[in-house]
Symmetry: C2
Subunit: 413 residues, 2 copies
Amino acid sequence: MSEAFSTGDIVAASCRGHPVEGIYITDRDGMAVVKLGSGYNIGVDPATCTLVRKNGGTAVPAPPAVEQDESLPGFAIISTGGTIASKIDYRTGAVTSQFTADDILRAIPGLSSIGRYRAEVLATILSENMTPAIWQDLARAIHAAIRGGARGVIVTHGTDTMAYSASAVSYMLDTPVPVVFVGSQRSADRPSSDNIMNAMCAAAAAGSDLGEVAVAMHATTNDDYCALHRGTRVRKMHTSRRDAFQSHDMAPIGRVDFPSLQVRLADGAVRRGASALALRDRLEERCGLLAFYPGMAAEIVRAYEGYRGLVIAGTGLGHISTGCIGAVRDLIDAGTTVVMTSQCLHGRVCDRVYDTGRDLLAAGVVEGEDMLPEAALTKLMWVLGNESDPEEVRRLMATDLKGEIVRRSAHGL
Amino acid sequence: MSEAFSTGDIVAASCRGHPVEGIYITDRDGMAVVKLGSGYNIGVDPATCTLVRKNGGTAVPAPPAVEQDESLPGFAIISTGGTIASKIDYRTGAVTSQFTADDILRAIPGLSSIGRYRAEVLATILSENMTPAIWQDLARAIHAAIRGGARGVIVTHGTDTMAYSASAVSYMLDTPVPVVFVGSQRSADRPSSDNIMNAMCAAAAAGSDLGEVAVAMHATTNDDYCALHRGTRVRKMHTSRRDAFQSHDMAPIGRVDFPSLQVRLADGAVRRGASALALRDRLEERCGLLAFYPGMAAEIVRAYEGYRGLVIAGTGLGHISTGCIGAVRDLIDAGTTVVMTSQCLHGRVCDRVYDTGRDLLAAGVVEGEDMLPEAALTKLMWVLGNESDPEEVRRLMATDLKGEIVRRSAHGL
């Protein structure tokens, strides 16, 4: 029974049949939380825990305080939570996401040599709890920071939904300076943590010649460089690898070498100052994303009745079963804008080749070109938040606004 | 107006603002179907069509008849429809999926040098219209063909949902011989069609030492070899490229070089004869797949009330928002088995690291290990079709049955 343990005790336990050993941290939600040698905190069945030895009291020393160099360029750091913003409780070894202004500078002293920072805690959430309302707050906070003179903005964010947020902000904000989302796949107390390199590269990118919304994350499994991905073309493609983020159907818009912090931008990257600062922060929240699967009942489509927008991740070139098309037609007839994307993730939708596609077009579905489903969802929220004329909505969804549509051709696919 | 055109006329038209020219084929669903020089048949607005010149009457000559060599090994070809099974109407140039027994041999004469074939038309559908009931028919037809002495089975299938079908058949059938799914990303009348090479490689694989369900498709954009993918680990990752199919988190189980048709199997590929023939063809159809997105309303989860199984494609390590967890708990309390996978597609789910994950485990969610969402959905249908004890269902979902789980470790992630 874990009631018998104190924080810091070394315990042995069983996790899905495998023996594990680590530091007992606390009980939560009926599980004993144990820190493994790998740095991971995992939950195990308390009934399987046995004491190895009592807490030896070897607390981690607190890091030194930091000072900021006022002669360096000024950046804003806006924190939303997630692993990169988590800090270690030096008493217990637990990872929490209580983040105060100086914490990230204490955790990553190297940042102080790149710039000076104003830090703002916008949220302290796991990014699966991100919402369109917080995206709006985030766009407003970034806008205010840029208007306040920030040379670049760094947004720390949980990796789970960072691509959705970067995409949403891309539509809401025209930015003359870099807006760099950054996260961490492994928390700071893990030997393989990516938080320091990612944050340093993000700061370097924030000072670069970039003028758009980007995601900065490890590009390889080595600590050699971060890729800069366009906010509307990036996706998290691995649950745990540090190089999980990938640009889709285009090369990254830049890279930041480590540890040199040299930034190289691709020819197609939007440059600093190319856009004037502007904020259009309305979003229609009543939008959904539906991934089709064989045998899907039409009733699942009908769950989106009353929604203003629906993005479908269809199969192949953008298909759903004939049996579901009627329900889609009903949604459209009732005023829902329905946009087709592909669960293939790569390549372009074309509903003009096969019968089911033509039936979808006849029902009024908008082809989502080669947009990622995530980028199409956030775009649809933005378009419907700003435009009520159905034809103009269709036109905007088919128009490249922030690099979300890479390729347009009538018949080359 | 397209009423003015006859099949075979050359017409000019506009497709999404781009000028196109091609052969008028027919009117369908309010669109004029026009064959472009690329081979694609696309739908255009009839109002934009103008006549370039009347049908010149240059019909494509019919191909010669084929004879089968009775001294060669006997294979079964089971056709379900899709682009590879489509044939050209030699009068109109249109692509249809009316497929008769000899059509594929006529279209691909090279097959006759590899084996002799019994062809069966199981369905003539676009694969987005595939259903669990047809998967069951397909497993039964394959089982019957093997019992009838087929040295290997080739299943021609639309590419859209081929990975779902290959996975479903993997669970229903223990096979001592190769069962090779094959499709075509581009129809036979396109200069870049992949139908001949894919079919030839599939036939070679069907005669090989393989003893499991596989997908054979172009491995590169060249016509140099096909990859053989395990049926439970493959996914279509591009809407139109010929090398769209990719094994996930494992190397392909083999390759077939072209044109030599030499087959090389990976060490981990299951070998011919390793399994005895067995059919367990029950599936629980009342299962769904739900891809989470930020801001998803709990009502979307509730659309699956009454379902026996639900696979969630969560974010990252397997998360959904805190606000949706109550609805998931309600489903589980009402008897639905809920399995968590990741929309990252690569890597392994672990719900023991973050709070939302632990809340999901406390609600009774089953971690889907590193299964692809598609493989988890078809597996859940099979497990629930064959097992009613909830604990045994959980155990089977966490057990590797047909290679769908690559990696199991308690804490290595």
